[in-house]
Amino acid sequence: MMNAFLTQLSDAVSPDLISILSIPLTVSIHAACRRVYRRWRWPLLSPMLTSLVLLAGLLVLLRMPYPRYMAGAHWLSSLLQPATVAFAVPLYRHRRALLDHAPAIGAGLLCGSVMAVISSIGLAHLAGLGDGVARSLAPRSITTPVAMAVAKQIGGNPVLTAVFVIATGILGILVGPWLTRILRLRTPVGRGALMGMGAHGIGTARAFEMGSQEGTLSSLSMVVAALAGVVLIPLLLPWMNIISLH
């Protein structure tokens, strides 16, 4: 009854109007979720998770087909392009820290990137997930715009990758601070690299709550991990044939 009414309602509004409305809808839901997170600061209230659940729930409830939503909203996500270029600014600002800690960051991120590919593909195989899903999982530790581009390149599904990246970030800020205690990481370099490599932008936001040094090193690690991933993931993937990919 209710659903029939909603279907009628969404049919009555012209498709173009809905497409245009998808931008203010996304922006306002995101702004509201951000405000809620600032009030309580609870990891599961992470604005990324809450706004994704709310927005996806709303589209399903309104029976709005995704392409119709995306017809308008793709303008918003096209800003991911200049945002990736913008990573050059923190990289430039903290070039001294990058140079000072180059061996530690370089070695840590190399191990992390290799581990990301091996464990994603290996565990996906163990769990009995399909080949396409495994390929979409491989780039999930790096920041979304780059992860989606890498997924496309290695034969994964960029949309699934975008969701996996966000799941990685949210799970990462849940286990990351706990891991730094278990492993007794005392240096800001270790803690920052852990958060930036493991949980990209979402982890970096959390790393700034640990300290400004941790945050800076995390943002550096995130950018360098993305650059390394672009080169390493397509190189490593053929070797993974041995484990699982056909």
Partner: protein, 153 residues
């Protein structure tokens, strides 16, 4: 008289906000242009690197060699990075196209992502931390000993 002063103050504030918005918009457009050019170049030269990443490297070099002053891109870049999560949302919402996958494999996917993320974090953090501590010990043996209360090996 007082009303005039208040109006003037209000107007200057509005003007300041408008200037800032205009600066962010202009710099964002500049970064967008750079990304678009690098996308074209990457496609034309068959470089297997996303254009936006190429753009990031190019902008870093331009800043490093002072071809582009930081002030030209700073405000726009800071704004874009602060809003990054918002730009992720539309592609992530695409998950609603795969209800069957979530129903069938959702828990297994979550478990794989959790385990893999923990492994990636542990190895990255442990390696980076070990190298940093070793370098600190070598550079300042006494300071390190005093800080940690341990004799370094």
């Amino acid at each position: 008289m007082r009303i005039a002063v208040q109006t003037a103050r209000c107007l200057t504030k509005a003007a300041r906000i408008a200037t800032r918005a205009a600066r962010i918009a202009l710099q964002t457009a500049l970064l967008w242009l750079l990304a678009a050019v690098c996308n074209r170049v990457a496609t034309a030269l068959h470089v297997p690197v996303p254009g936006s990443i190429l753009g990031c490297a190019v902008l870093f070099l331009l800043l490093l060699f002072r071809v582009v002053p930081l002030a030209w891109v700073e405000a726009g870049a800071d704004w874009l990075i602060a809003q990054l999560l918002l730009f992720f949302l539309p592609p992530a919402v695409g998950i609603i196209q795969y209800p069957a996958l979530i129903r069938a494999d959702g828990w297994r996917l979550l478990l794989v992502i959790l385990t893999s993320t923990a492994l990636v974090m542990a190895i990255t953090g442990a390696v980076a931390d070990a190298i940093t501590r070793r370098r600190q010990r070598r550079a300042h043996p006494l300071a390190h000993q005093a800080l940690t209360g341990r004799r370094s090996g």
